[in-house]
Amino acid sequence: MSWAAHEFENYFLQKHVGLKASFLAIALGTFGPDLFTKAFVYSSDDPAQFHRGWPGVGFTHSFIFGVVGAAVVLATTRSRSWAVGILVGQWAHVLTDICDSAGVMPFFPFSTEPVTIGMWKHAASLGRYGDATAYYSSLGGVWDLFWLLMLVLFASRTLRPSYFRNVVVPADPRAWGWLHRRLHLPEQGLLLLYQGFCFYGLGRMTAWFLRARFDDKAPFQPVWGGPRYVQGNDLSDAGSLEVILRTSVGGVAFALFLVVCWRLFLKRLWLRGDDPPSVTRGRGLAALFH
């Protein structure tokens, strides 16, 4: 699993969607796959299997989970900004988690083969603190740092007050207005709330890394497949060719499924959805990205 990378990628995504998705929905989308399951992962008998596998709650780390979430949001709120945000955020989470040894099932239920590049070991079997220590002793910590650099180099303007006022709020005036009224927060308070996800990512990345080095005294092993002191926990012993084949078949089936769903009901939901006044959408990918 990835840790602070999920917070940093919110702003990177925000830069690419601009006015076309709600930042709060993107944040909820990236939290989504772990939101209701993570607490149970550490207490399960086989955390990796439970978290990412099937049987288990591994379906939360699949593209179809994002599609279902976005469709439910679109059907209930009619907000396209929220539907797009949930979809983009959840899909980013799925793609990010491909890096650890447990992997994800992106095309569940059409393929239950875990896809992984095994960059670092999934270490939930060590409990929450052990997991954090292992993550920040491996390339996982470097992955967080990579996303922080991406944010600083290519999307730092998304953290500015002017961007918040001119893009983030107009993309989702209802939710920010609601927060303003319910929490009695002026613009400065809302801005701090918006910037808070980046602050949290940076804070927890640093604190966990320092704890891993000075409190737990774990060896720092930023090598492929590390850290070495954690036991391997791959969910599948299939070879690369088998994984590619099964995943490709699953991907094609998923794409066909999406086309059918679009024609049956998703298009209707999308057309009756609404946008904030400042948003105009193009067709195809231009409807999602700017």
């Binding site: 939290f31 007050p161 002017s162 613009e187 400065q188 910037q195 602050f199 949290y200 604190a207």
Partner: protein, 71 residues
Amino acid sequence: MSVRPDEEAQHEVPAVAPPPVAYIAAFVAYLVLGYVFRSVFLNWIIGPLFLVGSLYVVPRLLGRRAAEPAG
């Protein structure tokens, strides 16, 4: 309508953000508290809310208290 960087610059607003030193102080505080009380501060609820709490809510409460007449 997509807002491009040049358009965004035209709508540059007066600073509503606290000064950089306030962010640094909040970060150091979060780091220390997170390191010592990890289960309390290094989680999905307190973490994202810490900035608004430390740089807006707490200063406002302290300011209100200081403005109250003594005695």
